[in-house]
Amino acid sequence: MLLVAIVFAIFLVIGMPVAFAIGISGMMFFLQHPELPISIPLQITVSTTQNFSLLAVPLFIVAGNLMNRSGITEGLLNLASVLTGRLRGGLAQISIVLSALMGGVSGSAIADAAMQSRMLGQQMIDRGMTKGFAAGVLSFSSLLTPIIPPGIGMILFGTIGSVSIGRLFAGGILPALLLGVAMSLSVWITATKRGYPPERSTRPTAKETITAFRGGIWAILFPVILLVGLRAGIFTPSEIGAVAVLYAVFIGFLIYKRMKVSDFIEALESSLGDVGSVMFLISLSAIFGYGIVFERLPELVASGLGTLTDNVQVVMVLIVLLTIVAGLFVDATVLIIMMTPIVLPVVTRLGGDPVHFGIIFVIAATLGNFTPPVGAAMYTVCSILNVSIKDYIKEGWPLLLAISIVTILLIFVPSIVLYIPNLIFG
C-alpha cells in the first residue's frame, strides 16, 4: 500500500488527472500481488457502476442542469433574494438550507453536491463570492444530506453494529440542525469579513415578496413533493434522482412553459461532461481502496485503540481522528463497513451509547468525502465548477472547523444526540 501512496503522490505532483492517478496508482497493489488476477481493477470499476444507489449521482446531475433551464433555479434565486434580503452571502446560506431539505429525501452527499453545484455554483460566483468559497460551501453543506434521515451511512452502521436504525435516524436530527447552524455561522462570518454584497439593499415590498413566492413556489415544492413521494412509498431513495428529472421537465415544459426541446438537449449535453468527470473518478476510486480493505489497515490500527485509555470520550475522539485519516483515502461506505465491528465494541465496553457513537462515527466517516486527496464530493464540486483543489482547501477550512467543533461538542454532550431518540422510543 505504501507503493500505491507514493505513486499516487507522484502522479498528482506531475499533474495527471486525478481519476487516472487514482486508478493507475491503485494498480500498483495488484502488481505487488501476482496471486490476484490483474483484471480485478477493471472488474471493480465496472461493479461500481452497477451500484443502484450511485445511480442517483448522474440523475441529480441531469436534474440540476434541467432545473437551470426550466426556470426552477431562477424562481429559487428570486425567492432566496427576498428571503435572505440583506444577509451577506445569502445564496451560500440557501445552499445549506437546500442540502438540509434534500437530506430528507436523498442519502447521497455526492448527488446533492452535484445538483447544487450546477444550480447555485455559477450564481454564487456571479454574486462576487470567490470560486473556492463557493465550492467549499457547496461541498461541505452536502454533509447534512446523509445525516438527516434517511441516510445509507446510518443504515449500514445500524445493520453491521446491530443498532436500532429508527433510533439512529432520530439521533441524526439535532446534530444535523446544529451542523447546519454552525456552517451557517461560519459562512456569515466569512461573508461579512469579505464584505460579500447582500442580495438587496432595501427591504422587499409586500408585492415583491408575493411575486417571488409565486415564482419560487415550484422550487420550494420540489423537495416537499419528493419527500411526500418517498414517505408514501411511491419511490425509493435510489429512485429519487429520476423523479427529480421528471419534475424539472414537467415544470419547465408545462408550468413555466419556457423550456424548449433545444433546452432539454443542451441540458443533457452539458450533463455528459459532468457525468464523465464525476463518475469516472468515483468508479476508479474503488481500485484505490481495494488494497486497504485487503490488508485490513484500519482494522489493524483500530483494534489497538481500546488499550490506550479507559475514558470513553477520549476513545471516541481517537476513533474520529483515525476515521478522518482513513477517510482521506477511503470511501465512507467502505470505512463504515470495515471499522464498525472493530470500534463499536470498544466504545460500548467502556459504557458508550451505540446511537450516540453511531452519529459521530457516521459524520466522521462521511467527512472523507470532502477531504483531499481522495474525496468524491470534493472532486464533484471542484470539477463541475472548475475550481482548483488549492482554492477549495484555502477557502473551505472554516467550514471544516465549524464541523469539527460541532463533532467535539457532540462527543462530550451525548444528550444532544440522544434527546430525540429517547423522546420517541423512550
Partner: protein, 309 residues
C-alpha cells in the same frame, strides 16, 4: 515432500455478505481456526464480512480465474454455470435438514459439483451451511397463496428465487438487501422473505409486524474456491479444508436452528405476530409452477428418485 509443503503458507480470503454479528460469520471463523490449527498454520483462512472484498458475482469470477479467494454463495447463482444445480434452491424441495444433508451424497448432485469444478473452475468445498427455513415477513397475516396476491415481496435477484416467490402468489421485487429496511419503512415493498435469524441483526422488526411461517425455501449455502488453487494444496490440506468445512457448516446450521427458536421468541416479545396456521399444502401445490417455469421439473424428479421419494 510434506515438510516442504508445510513450510509454504497458503492463504484463502473468504468473502461473505453477512454481518459480523450473524452466526455465519462466527461459523466461518471457526472453520478458519480449525483449519489453521490442523495444518499447523500452513493454511490460513481470512474471513471478510459484509462483502468487503466485493460483489458475490465478481468474486465468483475471480475464483474462476484462479485467485486464492473463496465465496459463500447459493445454488441460484451457481445455476448460472450448471443450470440444473439451481433446483437445490427450489421451493419446498426437501422435507428436513437430514434430507438436505443427504443431497451432497447423491450421484446426480455429485455430477453437477464435478462439472462445476472441471468445466468452470469452481470447486465446491462443502454445502453444509444452511440458514434454515425462509418465511414471509409482512405487515399482514398470510395463510393462503391468495393472501400474497398483489404483495410486493423483496426477493434476491435470481431467476429461481423470483419464480418461487411468484409461484407462491406474490409479486417478487428485486432489491439489494440493504434497501429492505427503507423499502419497508416507506412501503415501496410490502414484505420480504428471509429467515428468523435475518430479522433482528437487520432491525427489520422495526418495519414489519407479521411473520407467516411458510418455510418455502430451505436455503443451502455453498463454499466455493478455485479448482486451480485447490489443486496446489497438499492433499492433507485439501482434506482438512473440506472436512472442517462440513463440520463447521453442520454446527452452524444447528446453531441457526436453535437460534430461529430464540429469535422467534424475542420477536414475539417485541410485539411481532406469528402466523403459524399457514395452509402449507396450498403453498406446496402452488410451488409446482416455479419448477415448470424454469424447466426444472424433470431435474427435481430425478433428484427425488435418488432420494428414494
Amino acid at each position: 515432500s510434506t515438510g516442504q509443503a508445510l513450510a509454504q503458507e497458503y492463504v484463502l480470503r473468504l468473502n461473505h455478505v453477512h454481518t459480523p454479528a450473524e452466526a455465519y460469520h462466527q461459523g466461518f471463523q471457526k472453520w478458519a481456526d480449525r483449519v489453521f490449527e490442523r495444518t499447523k498454520g500452513g493454511l490460513k483462512i481470512e474471513v471478510f464480512h459484509s462483502a468487503q472484498l466485493g460483489v458475490e458475482e465478481d468474486i465468483i469470477e475471480q475464483i474462476r480465474m484462479g485467485a486464492n479467494v473463496g465465496q459463500n454463495t447459493d445454488a441460484a447463482r451457481l445455476g448460472n454455470y450448471v443450470p440444473e444445480i439451481a433446483v437445490l434452491n427450489g421451493p419446498y424441495l426437501v422435507k428436513s435438514f437430514d434430507e438436505a444433508f443427504k443431497l451432497a451424497e447423491l450421484p446426480v448432485v455429485q455430477g453437477w459439483i464435478d462439472k462445476l469444478a472441471t468445466q468452470h473452475g469452481l470447486k465446491v468445498v462443502c454445502f453444509d451451511f444452511s440458514q434454515g427455513l425462509r418465511h414471509v415477513f409482512t405487515n399482514q397475516p398470510v395463510r393462503n397463496p391468495q393472501d400474497l396476491s398483489g404483495l410486493r415481496i423483496r426477493t434476491p435477484p435470481a431467476p429461481i428465487w423470483q419464480e418461487a416467490t411468484r409461484a407462491l402468489g406474490a409479486a417478487p421485487t428485486a432489491m439489494a438487501f440493504g434497501e429492505i429496511y427503507p423499502g419497508l419503512q416507506q412501503r415501496a415493498i410490502d414484505g420480504a422473505e428471509v429467515t428468523y435469524a435475518n430479522i433482528r441483526p437487520n432491525n427489520l422488526q422495526e418495519v414489519v409486524s407479521h411473520v407467516s411461517e411458510t418455510g418455502h425455501i430451505l436455503l443451502l449455502n455453498f463454499e466455493v474456491v478455485s479448482t486451480t488453487w485447490f489443486e496446489t494444496l497438499p492433499p492433507e490440506f485439501q482434506t482438512a479444508l473440506v472436512e472442517e468445512c462440513r463440520v463447521a457448516g453442520q454446527e452452524t446450521t444447528k446453531v441457526l436452528q436453535a437460534q430461529a427458536e430464540t429469535e422467534k421468541a424475542a420477536l414475539i416479545e417485541a410485539g411481532m405476530t406469528v402466523v403459524d396456521n399457514v395452509n402449507l399444502e396450498a403453498f406446496r401445490a402452488a410451488s409446482e409452477q416455479a419448477y415448470k417455469a424454469l424447466n426444472l421439473t424433470d431435474v427435481r424428479d430425478a433428484l427425488y428418485k435418488e432420494l428414494g421419494r
